[in-house]
Every structure is written in structure tokens, then in C-alpha cells.
Symmetry: C2
Subunit: 450 residues, 2 copies
Amino acid sequence: MMSPIYLAFTITTIISLSSSNWFVYGTEWKPSWSAGAAEEAEAVAAIPCSGHGRAYLDGLVLSGYEPICECNPCYSGSDCSNFSSNCSANAGSGDPYFLEPFWMRHAASSAMLVSGWHRMGYTYSDGSYISQLLVDHIKKLHKIVGNAITDERYIIFGGGSTQLLNAAVYAFSSNNNSSATPAKVVATAPYYPVYRTQTDLFNSRDYRYEGDTSLWKNKTDINGTTFIEFVTSPNNPDGKLTKAVLEGSNVKTINDRAYYWPHFTPIPSPADDDLMIFTISKLTGHAGTRFGWGIIKDKGVYEKMLTYMDLNTMGISREAQLRALKLLNVVLEGDGKEIFQFGYSTMRNRWTRLNQIISKSKRFSLQKLSPQYCTFFKRVRAPSPAYAWLKCERVEDKNCSKILEGGGINGRGGSMYDSDDRHVRLSLIKSQDDFEILVNKFTLLVANKG
Amino acid sequence: MMSPIYLAFTITTIISLSSSNWFVYGTEWKPSWSAGAAEEAEAVAAIPCSGHGRAYLDGLVLSGYEPICECNPCYSGSDCSNFSSNCSANAGSGDPYFLEPFWMRHAASSAMLVSGWHRMGYTYSDGSYISQLLVDHIKKLHKIVGNAITDERYIIFGGGSTQLLNAAVYAFSSNNNSSATPAKVVATAPYYPVYRTQTDLFNSRDYRYEGDTSLWKNKTDINGTTFIEFVTSPNNPDGKLTKAVLEGSNVKTINDRAYYWPHFTPIPSPADDDLMIFTISKLTGHAGTRFGWGIIKDKGVYEKMLTYMDLNTMGISREAQLRALKLLNVVLEGDGKEIFQFGYSTMRNRWTRLNQIISKSKRFSLQKLSPQYCTFFKRVRAPSPAYAWLKCERVEDKNCSKILEGGGINGRGGSMYDSDDRHVRLSLIKSQDDFEILVNKFTLLVANKG
């Protein structure tokens, strides 16, 4: 028979081990109400899709089981294992999947669990639509990276940088004087087409898109008309660090700084413009989150932009703000060294490889970018742009897109950027699969056509 | 001594229980990379805040420990346990916290865990900004509730219903004929003030706010000018089921159906208007998610609204869409019976209690609403509006807000709704704490002032 003492020990052990299934046991922790959401997310993440696609929690479901794999371009099949070699390279969109491997490596720190009752109300506890904690994170990030001055500046959030572009145009152009000439909105080609299409869309009495800055240089002093110049630095599509072209007391500048991160450019000094716009899309790669922010010097301009955000969408999604907070927390680990090193290495490697191929060709050329001292990396660093701004050099190749399409490469024609169709923008920030296909197509094209 | 068989059993039991700390054991599952996010969310949810506030994952943190409690109005202290009885009732905003207890009771099914790499790109796999799975859920919900026809209709998403209001105005007014008279945007007082303020904000050449429908009745046939009438049913602020006032081939109607849910109104029949707008804010109570949708008959109108959404914000946050999906899944359980029964009971109870108090007064009155057959509950049901539209009956009480403020009650004056200041809107959809304070203040006010 068992001794009473031994029996008691055994029972105690069984109870304590058994109870550890339900309560905290040493460093181990077991979820209660969050278990289902956590298990579901891990199950979806575990679907391999052959490394050429991914399954999502909100993916379409076939036959009631697991979400289907969403395959990278040119891959297909239920597990994305079929590669189609005669499929064209898709280098059109600016989907920033190049950072996806970084987030997969940081699965634990970047995951967020949202309870069903998380922030149901319209406002944060200070009555605003803007998370002050997230504002603090953004300011800390700019300080660490050294790419923008935020001290004594106002911070505003928008649905991507997109929504903030027009909020800024509104703030700079609105006035109570209905007889005033509409503000003239301008940019320098090649420029991001949304500046024009968005300004046209709203068809406002207060502003109007008026073409290229070159038309207005030294002509800005017309009856006090306001000029609003979009300045993108580094520029989309060509990656160059640019400055405003127009000068004068009635010229307002909207500085689109979407690409002013160490992934894409040396950071020579912190930007200190009156109105700067950033987006998480090109910082962490989360284009789908639709989270951008503006840094504004003037209180009146800031308040007009707040009014715009209130009446357009009543601020932006609390879930998007929580996600941005989570992601920035990871970015800030180790003072941002890891993500920017990863981003720069990836983009630098891609630019080098594309250059090696194009340099063998007389038919095509890429934009020239120079190494420059970067205050973030504390050394001179080579170019690593987000986009190739490719030129067809032969006189007869006036439609460069057509030439590339013949070689199975889809980009965006220069005329979209108010430039000429001798140029094509090719996105280098997509997935590694997309980049490999692009490189393969170019290798063949250059070998065949010179 | 212990028998060998008993010892073997004991050891096996110990090992199997012990190993269950690390691996799946029967129905028990242990998180790996999701553990940190799950633990963090549960820890925040476990902060009690005395039942008069809540802590959030993105709440401000004091002294580096846990997030601070964000207290309900009139409660304060680090754990929200201090009640201030001389604090005014805040019945201004439409924060829909009345549904928060429902989500706390459904913690497990409504939680969502978002991985760091969830939907980084701009588009879903079909190239759109709109989750088709969420569209399917929305259609299923309308079918179950019977409040809108969605077959052969187009569905579009926006940043709350707010963004869709102007998207609809844009779609109905934009044309390529720049010499056309701007469309006249109108509504019937009392109406939701954003219709006017938002329309004014954009100051478009294509449309202009032109006041109350009463000014234009039987006058809509002027040179083919387009009229755009906002119709809100049930109406905000007075909860009445309304119809369009203007008639004619050049009259377009934007039907704001934010409150057309069994919480707030009987559902006599499915709405089948050309353009209807809904929002999750008044369905599940998640105002902060900024998720709304439009149901549109005409393909051309739908496509114009898509263009508007693309150029304004490039669609809406993927996190907001995922959250909406999660929440609608819970709503759909048991064909929606549970949430709508909870919502109706809560709102009905509040309306009854407020009526009991006000009915004792000759100084104040509430809007009259009638019981009506509800096709969702399959019975005649009593009113349960989202807002009280209170009137001060005495001739001298021209500023009703002032009278209420004297009694410690803050609402929104009727002139905000283009009505008179003899009326005040009082929100009944806030937290139970807010409602109890409102009821207490009214009880005192009626007892003191009649």
C-alpha cells in the first residue's frame, strides 16, 4: 500500500500541475478569453503557401476550412507552388512588401490583440481623435532617425498621407473672402499624380490645379494669389532630394516626405519645413493601414487641417492608430537600427542588381543618384531608391512602356507623372518574388535587344 | 510502499500534465508568438476601474506600469471610484457606449489578433480596397434583419458614414459641364448638422448647401438643376421614420440609415432606396472604428463614389475592415437575436424611464413616437429612440439648453439642427453611468421646477 505521506505528496503534485493548465505557472501563461483569437491567428499564419503567398484572417475561405493562400504575382495553385514563367513582371504599384520578412521575423513583438470593447467611442480621453501616445512615439522616432524636427510642432493624423495632402491644400487656400482668386496648386514634373487628380476631384472654389512650377517661376507675385507647391523629397518617381521651386510671401509649400527614411535615401539633416507629411506605408511597409501624419508649424494651419479631418471622416480608425503604435514600438527597439538596416540593405541590393543589368544595355538607362553622408548611419552611403526611373535612350523608342511590355515588364509610363513616355517608373519595393521576376525579365530583354 | 502499477500511473499522470504546459493537450492550446499580445490584452482588460471606466492597450501609462483608467464622466481617481455628484450630465455626444456590456460579455468571440504582416499591401487579392468577405457579411446581416435590400446592389466602404455622405454628394453632382448650375444640397430640419457643415467645407463648384427642403418644395423644376436631398430615417435628432420631401426627375436622395436597426426603431420593411448609407457606429457601437458602408443601385454612381474614396484616402484601413468582420460575425450568431434584443431592451428601458420623469413635468416634453409592427421581432414594439428631442414648453423658455444647464444637464441646442432653441437633443446611447446621471438630474429638475 502507498504511505499516507507519499499519497498526499502525489495528490498535491497532481493538483498543482493540473491547475497550471488554468493559471499562471512560473513564467508560463495561459490565455483565457483571448485564446480563440490567438489560436486562429497562429493557425492562419502557419499556412505555408510555399513561401510565395500568404493566408490572411480575412481571406476568402474555400469549402469552410482554412483561408485560401493569396499568391504573389506569377504564382498560382492552392499552395502557390505553380510558377508561370511567361507571366509579366508587375512593377507598377508601390505595395511595400519588401518589409514583410522583417515583420514575420518580429511576429511576437508586432502582434496585437484587440478586445471587442476597445475604444468604442468617438474620442480619446482628451476629447480628440488623435492618440497622444502615438504622437509621442512619432516624435521619438523622428528624433532617433534625425529626419524631421518635431519640437514645438503640431502633429495631425490622416487616412494615409493621401487624406492629408488635400487637408493641407484646404488649410492653405481656405479663406472667407469669396471673391479672392483660387489658390494655384502646382508641382514640378515628374511628380506623384495624386497631387493633380485629387485637387481636380474636389473642384473647389478655393483652389485649382495649375500645372508645372516651371510655368510660374518668377511669376508668383500676381495680385496676392496664393500658390501651393507640392515638394516631394526624395521625389516620387525619381528618388532625388528636391527643394521648392517657387519663392515669395504668397507661396505655401506642402512637403511630402513619404520617402525620407533611411531605407530609401541618405538623411543629410532633419527636415524643418512649415508643413511636412509622412506615412507609415513607406516607413514600416503597412500601406493597407492607411495611416499618415503631418508635422505643422503654424497653429492656424493645424486647426484648419483638424477641421478638415473632423468633417471628412471624424478622424481616423482607432484600430489603425493602435496598429501604428504597435509597429512603431518595434521600430523604436534598438533605436531603429534593425529595421532601417534591413530596409537599406534590401533596397541597396536591389538597386545594385538592377544597375548591373541595365549598365550592360545601351538602350536603357536609370536615373543617376549619388552617394551622400547619412546622419542616421553616420557614414557615406550609396543610393537605394524606392523606384527605378528608367529611360529608353533610342530616338525611336518614344513609348518606353510599350518596349518594356514587349519584354514582359509592366511599369508606369512617364506621362502619368507629367513627364514624357520615354520614361517608365518601376517599383522596387514589392516582394522579393516580384523583384526576382523583374530582374529575370530585364536580363533577358537586355540580352536579346541590347 | 506504493504498488508498481500505481507508481507508473502516477508518473504518467505527472508527465502528461507537465507536458501540457508546453504542448497541445486535448482541447487545451498554448500560444507561441501570439502569447505576448494575448497576455498584454488580458492584463489591460483585467484592470477593473471600479466598473466606472476602462483601461485600454493604448492608454497613457503612469510611471511605466499599467495603463491608467479612463473614467466615465463624473467619475475620477486612479481607479475611477470617486463620484462627483455636482458634475453635470453629459448628454451631448452620440458615443454609443450602451453596447459596451454586450461586447464585454462576448470577449472570446469578438477578440481579434492581428499579425505584424497582416495585409501590408494597398489592395485585397481582387485589386480593390474593399474586403469581399466583409461585403458578404454585410449582405447577410441586412437579409437577417430585413432592413435593406442588397441583392444586385453595389456595396462601398467609407471612413464612417461621414466620408460616404460627401462621396454621395460628389457622385450625384459631378459632371463634365462646368457651366451647369451647382447642385442644390438640402435637408429637412431638424437634421444632422454635418450635412451642411461638410458640404460647406468642400466649397465645391459642383454643389452648394441651399438650406431646408421647405424652401424648394414644388420648385425643383428649375432649368434642370440637380437637387440632392439628405433623408435620415429614423431621423437624427428626433427618431422619426421620414421620407423624402422633394420630388422630380432631377432630385437625387441620399438616405442616411445609420439608425435603421432594431435597437432604435421598429423595422416596418426593408429599405430599398437608390443610395443608402449605414455605419457600424450605431449597429455594434464601434464609433471609433470609422467604418461605414453604402448600398447603391446605379453602377455609374457607385463608380464615382469609388473614385472619390480612392482619391480621398485610397480606401479605408484594413484593420478597421478586419474588426468589422469580427464584430459582424458575432452579430450574426443566432441570426442577430442577441445583440438586437440587448440593444432594444436597453434603449427601451431608458426611454421608458426618461418618459416617466418628464411626464410629471409641464415644463418639458419629449417627441411622440408610436408603437409599430417590427418585421425583425415579428411583433408590435414600443419606441426606443437613440436621442430624446426635448422641448421646453413655457413661452419664456426660448433657450432650452440654458434651462437644462441650470439643472446640470448638457445637451445640444436645437439651432445646431436648424431647428429652434426651444428644443434640445439629449443622447441616450452613452454608458449606463451617463444615463443614470441624466435621470438623476432630470428627477431633481422636475421636482424643483415642475
